[in-house]
């Protein structure tokens, strides 16, 4: 007689349903892969798998000279390319004890802030798209083109500029620069109201984001969630305030802090930051001092042996650059502390218990740029 086999009875309630989001998925903003365990529509847990765009930039840096490295940093977080350049330039300047002219500091600060606005505009586009409002995408990109026009006028490139060099700038700003920036501020002050009308005030959007994906302040600090995402949880992590660089110590601006820690708070922090950035630019644009746009540097830059660290506030959070130099023209070890990498680590924690749609909204509000995670 055949033996009766007792198959293990599975409890359907406890069974999990795994789906792969990515590497090609519209809401992962690139090639991130999230393995999501679902129970019905509810996210039980998720595991991020990175590395689908890991290009080994840190290894390349060990063979490249410092001016070459600047070009690689552009391609990490391409949406805040200038700010990444700024970090490396300041690090080299600090190591060589070079003081850059005031004019350079002013211009760098203005362009950093323009870059931050452009980045937040693109975030708004993609956040709107993640929420299902496709028109947001076009509104945001329409206004972003205006900033790209300013960039193109001054340094001839739209996205990756490598405009900063150790010791100053690649070239002087275009004579029209001040006028076009001022025009843009006037234009964007008007247009940002559209953003509020279209998405911020929308009942569906508010229902979907308020109270969703809550990240407490303690967790934000522990996970190292910085930038607008961290400030949405009340974590005062603005490098511009805490460790001022450029001319941030000379301008008046507020560090936007919200304490709810939900998706809507992260959204609102970015919306307010665009206003703050415009405020900073307005204070600086008329006061750019005359002078050289660059100081004379040696042809081959050799950093004295030692360790150097530079922190800047990129559009998505704190970017840290660590260099261990052995006195050669190339770094011995270079490490980028990328904001998105730490922000991503919190995704599992904050999206548990939400729905799939919440996961998408949370991902949009963390605003990750995958090449910056993978480097």
């Amino acid at each position: 007689m055949k033996e009766v086999v007792n198959l293990p009875v599975k409890n359907i309630e406890e069974e999990e349903y795994h789906i792969n989001m990515g590497p090609q998925h519209p809401s992962t903003h690139g090639v991130l892969r999230l393995v999501v365990s679902l129970q019905g529509e509810i996210v039980k847990s998720l595991k991020p798998h990175c590395g689908y765009i890991h290009r080994g930039i840190e290894k390349m840096c060990e063979k490249d000279t410092y001016p070459q490295i600047i070009h690689l940093t552009d391609r990490m977080d391409y949406l805040s390319a200038h700010i990444n350049n700024h970090a490396v330039c300041m690090l080299v300047e600090k190591a060589l004890e070079v003081e850059v002219p005031e004019r350079v500091k002013y211009i760098r600060t203005i362009i950093d802030e323009l870059n931050r606005i452009a980045s937040h505009q693109l975030w708004w586009c993609s956040f709107g798209m993640d929420m299902g409002g496709l028109t947001c995408f076009f509104y945001g990109l329409r206004d972003r083109e205006k900033i790209l026009d300013i960039f193109e006028e001054s340094f001839g490139s739209r996205l990756l500029h490598s405009y900063y060099t150790p010791g100053g700038l690649m070239m002087d700003i275009h004579p029209n620069f001040q006028k076009s920036v001022k025009d843009f501020i006037v234009y964007f002050r008007k247009k940002i109201k559209d953003y509020d009308d279209l998405l911020t005030g929308n009942i569906i959007m508010q229902e979907r984001t308020k109270g969703v994906g809550i990240l407490s302040k303690e967790d934000a600090v522990s996970y190292g969630v910085t930038g607008p995402s961290g400030r949405g949880s009340g974590f005062s992590c603005d490098v511009r305030k805490n460790h001022p660089y450029g001319v941030y110590d000379k301008v008046e601006f507020n560090e936007i802090l919200m304490h709810e820690g939900d998706t809507f708070a992260r959204y609102m922090v970015r919306m307010h930051e665009m206003h703050e950035s415009m405020k900073i630019i307005e204070q600086l644009i008329d006061n750019i001092p005359a002078g050289d746009y660059s100081v004379k540097m040696k042809a081959v830059l050799k950093l004295p042996a030692g360790e150097y660290f530079q922190r800047v506030e990129a559009a998505r959070g704190e970017l840290g650059v660590y260099v261990l130099s052995d006195g050669n023209k190339t770094p011995f070890r270079m490490k980028f502390r990328s904001p998105n990498f730490s922000n991503l680590s919190a995704l599992d924690h904050i999206s548990r218990g939400g729905k799939i749609a919440d996961l998408v909204a949370i991902g949009g509000s963390l605003d990750y740029v995958i090449p910056d995670i993978d480097r």
């Binding site: 998925h25 490249d64 391609r75 693109l122 996205l159």
Partner: protein
């Protein structure tokens, strides 16, 4: 751009010279007209070039004019995969799989220096595929780091031109055509 400049590469049109039966050429013309005017891209971007691809779809450059705005997230329904950005060793099998999942006829545009040749990540790195043509066949290369949206549009128009030369007839050898 002037029409003459656009057509400065004449090798493509040589393929058309070989002539054929009127019924087949008419059907060819209709099919090619349909295919070339409805190229739906796959939503796929790996890095910086993806942003310029988005910009190409946005209000200023608006590649909906060519009927390309129907971004399909599912590879089954897409016609062209615009490889926008670096492809690394870990991504290569995924890309191959995406390409295999697309239904024929399918086309590939390699957008940006990374996809064309590895670009800035050619030397001293251990994880980058130097050119996406090592993984999947490429129809049009669009150089630039990243290419401007206009460049992508130009690439798409060249792809349309290429599609217009497709035929159902059995292919002839290149020597035959160039004679």
């Amino acid at each position: 751009m002037k029409e003459a400049d656009f057509r400065d590469n004449e090798t493509l049109e040589l393929f058309k010279k070989s002539g054929g039966n009127i019924l087949l050429t008419t059907i060819d013309a209709i099919f090619d007209w349909g295919r070339s005017n409805s190229i739906w891209p796959l939503t796929f971007a790996t890095s910086c070039c993806g942003i310029e691809m988005m910009a190409a779809g946005a209000a200023r450059h608006d590649f909906a004019r060519f009927g390309i705005e129907v971004y399909r997230a599912s590879p089954r329904q897409a016609d062209v995969i615009v490889v926008a950005g670096t492809i690394v060793n870990k991504m290569a099998p995924v890309l191959k799989r995406l390409y295999d999942q697309m239904s024929d006829p399918k086309y590939v545009i390699a957008m940006g220096a990374c996809a064309v040749s590895g670009g800035p990540f050619f030397y001293n790195t251990y994880h980058v595929i130097r050119g996406v043509d090592h993984v999947i066949p490429v129809d049009v290369y669009v150089p630039g780091c990243p290419p401007r949206p206009e460049a992508l549009l130009y690439g798409v128009m060249q792809l349309q031109r290429k599609i217009k030369l497709e035929t159902m007839r059995s292919p002839r050898s290149t020597d035959d055509l160039l004679r």
